[in-house]
């Protein structure tokens, strides 16, 4: 039981993610989480205004079920399968975050500085969540996939477009962390 309660090492987690991808392919579907955002737009009737959302979203219901399961999985893992969180971050990361003014580093999955209600009700905190989410939604659809569709499924099937997309993920991520964070925090 202790083995389950402790954080899982990368060499267990990575293959497990590949199994998720494989199972969805085995069920005749595919592993792509960002498609759900498009499906939700279509469900809300966006197809009446924008052609991109004019498709029968019911054929993607299975994927909405996957994210419902993911939500429940998150609940189960966090409430029943975890010791108190203390993420084993590298010393360098802790030092860097300290110098940006972060406290209680790694004591929860997400920093309170960004995800607490207090942060949400500040202008800066609100804008970070809204702009971050907007960029994720816009960028994944523009690139035709996210980490699951490109980095896992696309790379596993040796597709060049996915490799290019992953390079893009890193261009954006590195710009944010190395150039924009020092201005934000």
């Amino acid at each position: 039981m202790d083995l389950i309660l402790e954080p899982w090492p990368w060499y267990v987690s990575g293959p497990c993610i590949a199994i998720v991808m494989f199972l969805l392919l085995y069920f005749g579907r595919t592993f792509g989480m960002s498609s759900n955002l498009r499906t939700i737009c279509a469900m809300g009737g966006a197809g009446k205004r924008v052609k991109f959302f004019d498709f029968d979203w019911r054929q993607y219901q299975w994927n909405l079920i996957v994210i419902c399961g993911a939500f429940v999985g998150g609940y189960i893992a966090h409430n029943f399968l975890s010791n108190p969180i203390n993420i084993n971050l590298s010393e360098a990361t802790i030092t860097d975050l300290n110098s940006l003014g972060f406290k209680n580093i790694g004591k929860s999955l997400l920093p309170g500085e960004l995800f607490s209600w207090e942060a949400f009700f500040s202008i800066k905190g609100f804008l970070i969540l809204v702009i971050g989410g907007f960029l994720v939604g816009f960028g994944t659809r523009y690139a035709g996939g996210c980490t699951s569709g490109h980095a896992i499924t696309g790379l596993s099937s040796l597709q060049l477009p996915s490799f290019i997309a992953v390079i893009g993920f890193f261009i954006g991520g590195l710009i944010m962390i190395h150039l924009i964070y020092p201005i934000l925090f």
């Binding site: 991109f52 219901q61 079920i65 429940v72 816009f138 477009p161």
Partner: protein, 138 residues
């Protein structure tokens, strides 16, 4: 409902794995983009290597899906600009709020309710892409 149960179970497993691996953690994403730990690279790398093996094996064994067709991965369209630009836009957002489109829902499950605003914003972002699609270089 019966035909959807397997998807629900896969989703649960996915949620558990991503929490237990800490891949849903903003801190781990920050650390990854700082190249200060092998953890995330180990997860993605071992996932891809396992994925390659599983896909090659399925092809060799001519494995059929539960739908009766041969197991195949949908092919991405050819292109360059959309992948570099779109990928970079996603990367900016991923690094800013530390969550990609799978972990968002998982994190709500772990009790982070402010993640709902991120999901809402992501839906708006997807809608904005759809509306501007014909004007963007692909």
């Amino acid at each position: 409902m019966g035909k959807y149960l397997k998807f629900f179970l896969v989703g649960i497993f996915f949620g558990i794995v991503l929490v237990k691996s800490e891949a849903v953690s903003w801190y781990r994403i920050y650390e990854m983009f700082k190249f200060q730990s092998f953890h995330m690279y180990g997860i993605i790398g071992s996932a891809v290597i396992t994925g390659v093996i599983l896909l090659v094996a399925s092809k060799q064994l001519k494995l059929k899906t539960t739908e009766g067709t041969y197991l195949r991965v949908p092919l991405k369209d050819r292109g360059l600009i959309r992948y570099i630009l779109g990928g970079s836009v996603f990367g900016l957002g991923w690094a800013l709020c530390g969550a990609c489109p799978g972990p968002m829902y998982i994190l709500v499950g772990t009790g982070v309710m402010t993640m709902l605003i991120v999901i809402l914003a992501a839906i708006v972002g997807t809608y904005a892409y759809g509306a501007l699609r014909s004007k963007l270089p692909h």
